[in-house]
Symmetry: C2
Subunit: 500 residues, 2 copies
Amino acid sequence: MCARLARWSAAELALMPSLQKRMHSTMNKADRFVVPVDRSTLPRGYLVATTYAGIKKAISPAPATDAAPQHAPKPDLTLLVSSTPASVAGTFTSNKFQAAPVVHATRALQAQGPHARARAVLVNSGCANAVTGQGGYEDTETLVKELQKLLPAGKHNGPDTASDVLMMSTGVIGVRLPLPQMLRGIQHLMRGHVLQSNPEAWLEMARAFMTTDTFPKLRTRQFKLGNRLCSMAAIDKGAGMIHPYMTSPGGLHATLLGMFVTDAPVATPTLQRCLEEAVRESFNCISVDGDMSTNDTILALANGQAPVIGTGSPVEGEISERTHPELVNIFAEELKAMSIEMAHLIVRDGEGAEKFVQVHVKNAGTYEQAHAIASSISTSALVKCAMHGEDANWGRILCAAGYAAVPSSSPAWSLDPTKVNVSFVPPPNASGLSPIHTLKNGVPQHVDEVKAAELLAQEDIYIDMDLQGGSWKEGACAEAVFWTCDFSKEYIAINGDYRT
Amino acid sequence: MCARLARWSAAELALMPSLQKRMHSTMNKADRFVVPVDRSTLPRGYLVATTYAGIKKAISPAPATDAAPQHAPKPDLTLLVSSTPASVAGTFTSNKFQAAPVVHATRALQAQGPHARARAVLVNSGCANAVTGQGGYEDTETLVKELQKLLPAGKHNGPDTASDVLMMSTGVIGVRLPLPQMLRGIQHLMRGHVLQSNPEAWLEMARAFMTTDTFPKLRTRQFKLGNRLCSMAAIDKGAGMIHPYMTSPGGLHATLLGMFVTDAPVATPTLQRCLEEAVRESFNCISVDGDMSTNDTILALANGQAPVIGTGSPVEGEISERTHPELVNIFAEELKAMSIEMAHLIVRDGEGAEKFVQVHVKNAGTYEQAHAIASSISTSALVKCAMHGEDANWGRILCAAGYAAVPSSSPAWSLDPTKVNVSFVPPPNASGLSPIHTLKNGVPQHVDEVKAAELLAQEDIYIDMDLQGGSWKEGACAEAVFWTCDFSKEYIAINGDYRT
């Protein structure tokens, strides 16, 4: 270690934090956040296929020119098929202007009720099919019906086999889907040899989710439920219009596309409950720009095809809170951990993001109060600019806490300014750094500017705010964690540079 | 006109919109928005004085260097004195972390009740005196008491003459005021010859309000109340942490500093009611960055010294709703119009702002619903980037409307997506342009890109959203207007460039 450091001059060493920062910002995010997936960790009983259907090209045609395109066309249509109907759950945006695929999927899940099953999920990027009226809804229906015709007849447990194919769309608002291209695309995807299951096929599916994302987001994990070795794959995408608050078909909110695909045997209502819990503390706790999309959707599929392994108590049928409460807890924890992992990827790939910022609010009166304050801090333009500038500006943090829209259903709000502590703490991946306490019991502390600069030069910045119970001394231990990114000039460039 | 146009070539004429834009952005805002004030329109019975007390220098000392400072020091302490105790009203930030001067002024008004009077207002920039604990509160008290000692003994109507001096502060959070410099400054300001009333003295006062503002904000107006010719001067400042929601001492909200100073004879409770009404539809309807400050304060003073002119019915004593309902209506309208004028100046000088954007939401169920939707659109980072990019992106506008936090106390929310109209309309100062209808009854319309580009190339962009009553058909005509600016790279530079 010393030998390596010796290669740097003293002046260079003094520049280390900013060098490190520059390395991070120039290094391709794909090189850092796309991790290899082992074939053995892919869920059993699913096949995927992806194609370039020309959706983006149909919507924004390239200018007529003889010049060859600069880049190869990007995949924009992708299909997941389960060999047996899978338990299915979903959470959807609470935006009043729900896109057609969101309305369709919500209705499909509600029509089937507690025995909802899905055989396939179709996803497109390039066109959100949002604010497209009745015609847009019928487009989704047409595509779903076409797919149902082509799917092998499956054995169904559910009452409504007409709604066992779901769709997710992302892209431009207010434009109809290019149906002819997409119908041809579906024909192609359903050819026998195109549907596959291997790491490259799954990664290609993740690529087809992408819009302004800079890297595909795919992760897998394995866990045991009794004598079953379960696998779960997850895909999601951002990267703007990200401030989800997703709810269940009847009630909950979200703002991105995501999919959790597992071979675990889980009953539909249990899957729904576990997904809602997971989304509540992951996707509903992130913000890129504070804008909640019209299309946010997270789906979870569980087809029960996980293989039996030698040890563990036998699991027959699907697990539920009634039949296997302990196994449900294990599954719920795995799903939540994976949801947080996938939500973090969205923040890391936020439009223009150079920083990953965690805001941890402790000792509020209720979770909702802690969540509202953490959300307010994470959405503040001034806080996000300060993080971009590596400025330990706790004044802006406190200010954003002070105007948080604490739900009126919460107990009377009585945050006590004289009890608030604010610290910047070293992220888990940084060693040798100390916390910087900027405010203790509402009193500004002397801050060592050199140490603060070191801490804030990290790509990951962790902010802790302890409300010390406000005035609800007894039992006040509610906390919430929120994740956000910084605001950079690149964000403005992506979303606002003058049109040419 | 034709002759003038003939100087331009056809190619240059085609470039007119972008030329116009460039002219606006490079032209000093001070040259465009500082208007001369006529001495005869200044309110009677007030004197003002301004000095450079060194508050900014004391808080952020310049590095030790022999080099001469690049700029002359900026005024940072200013005083208004009324020759007789004036009726006084105030609205203050609803941020939980109210700064010391806000707490002090709130208590002063509450202590005096319906007969509240003020003899003087002291304002400093450079230090917000926010999150400074009990010590910070005592600093405000010390300054106010010092000023009271120096003021000539006035004749008081109110019960509590200890609270007839109010203070406003703006600047850095978490730092104590430099008391010795400020006490010396007050001594200087109270010297007989320093207090004056002339246009330059008032403009210098407006300069002392400035922080990141690029121009001083001062306006005056005159109106008749019966046989009295009343004058009103107003000063305010932004330019960041601007998303006010101000309330009265007991209840209302705001996030900037502003002062309305008139010689009209208005009773205190009437002045308070008129100010709250004016603030509700002006300062509480603007956003620069969505951040509500800890210091927002608007004060209004009315000392009744307006001269009698020949005509009009005689007005004796102070007007109130009970004694002079018609005159109160006239005064309320003048105050509201001036509040809107002053609120617009804040938006025009918003940090990094190149556009002035009006969002008009019509035919909601209640004013609160219309306000919440207009506020959501005006705060959306994506909408503000689109306006910066002159992009008629109604999808982002609709999306922001869809996630608006409509107050839960409002009637059940039932915005009907199939009824929404969205248009860009020409601002009043643009002739020869036509409206662009982007959405009618929820259906996207064909947009003439050339006309849209012309309209959006204007500095002022007007967005109209008609909800057509949602599902509250009867009596649904509630509307709200909000004003915001665009998000530019300059905003990021001002608030987030890496510290050197």
